[in-house]
Amino acid sequence: MKKIKIAGLRHILDLSQVEFSPRPTQSHSPAMILARLAENGINVEFIVAHGRTDETMELVLGVKRNQIAATLGLLRGIKEEFGLEKVYSRDRVGMISLFPHGSRAAVIGNFLSAFRDAGVKLLTISFSLSAISGLLEESRIPDALNALSEYFELPG
């Protein structure tokens, strides 16, 4: 199999993942919730939002592990106000970001194949202009990086 050349690969440790979905009647809720986090100095490293047909928005955030207690405390404090039925969190999460040169469909296919081959569950995938990022269990990062090296060629 021919490896795809990429511009870079990096990983971040010490993250936690938080998931919640504000109630549909509060269309401004996601913005207001994120504003509360920002006001309290909580930086969100990673965001994925899916709108649903019932007008709710499912939000998945990645925050630094040392800010997860503050994040959860804050979200639990505003649960009633924003109709957050459940707030889930997952600790010991890491993020791998892959920086492709182009040919995105091929890159996404290889990215997913590598995780599948390694038996590593991708908790969340996000796409940005220059990178494909995935959240995964932190302990599986070495396995995922090994598997990615079978599909991608790093510069140098």
Partner: protein, 159 residues
């Protein structure tokens, strides 16, 4: 509050957004579907996926409107979905890309984007943000309003 400096902002029109909710075991078929899309020359300018507590996953992808039929068929067949499968399509959407750099290092960027768009009643169909850029999917008819909203919070250098 000052404007946030942005390297660039651009939008891609004539897109469609496909959202699929599936059991986790179906995730193993995704790479081959994505490869099939590549073979057909179908690009995917936006993709986000998340897994909920029950192990079910939600996948949202944007593609050019003209390629929607092919993409829909690829997922329908590749995942062996019944015709009644939970496959949602939103036509006539626009993908807006905000490129930092360093957006990920500034607390509050996402909340300002969402607040500005919510204040102008722009519906956000999907969003992704990490590292140095943020991608938004919105209905086509909201594009002029959305660009005005975003220009209120971002400073974009003149070309």
């Amino acid at each position: 509050m000052g404007k946030i400096k942005l390297h660039n902002i651009f939008h891609t029109s004539d897109q469609a957004l496909l959202t699929i909710q599936l059991e986790e075991r179906k995730a193993e078929f995704l790479p081959s579907i994505i490869y099939a899309l590549r073979e057909e020359g179908i690009s995917i300018p936006f993709i986000v996926q998340s897994i909920n507590r029950n192990g079910d996953f939600t996948l949202s992808l944007a593609t050019a409107q003209r390629q929607l039929g092919w993409m829909r068929a690829a997922f329908q067949e590749g995942l062996d979905l019944p015709r009644s499968a939970p496959l949602e399509v939103r036509n006539d959407v626009v993908l807006i890309t905000l490129y930092g750099p360093h957006l990920g290092e500034i607390p509050g960027v996402a909340s300002r984007i969402l607040s500005a768009l919510a204040a102008d009643r722009v519906e956000i169909l999907a969003m992704s943000a990490s590292l140095n850029s943020s991608l938004l999917v919105i209905p086509r008819e909201s594009l002029p309003k959305a660009l005005r909203s975003l220009n209120r919070i971002f400073e974009i250098p003149a070309k």
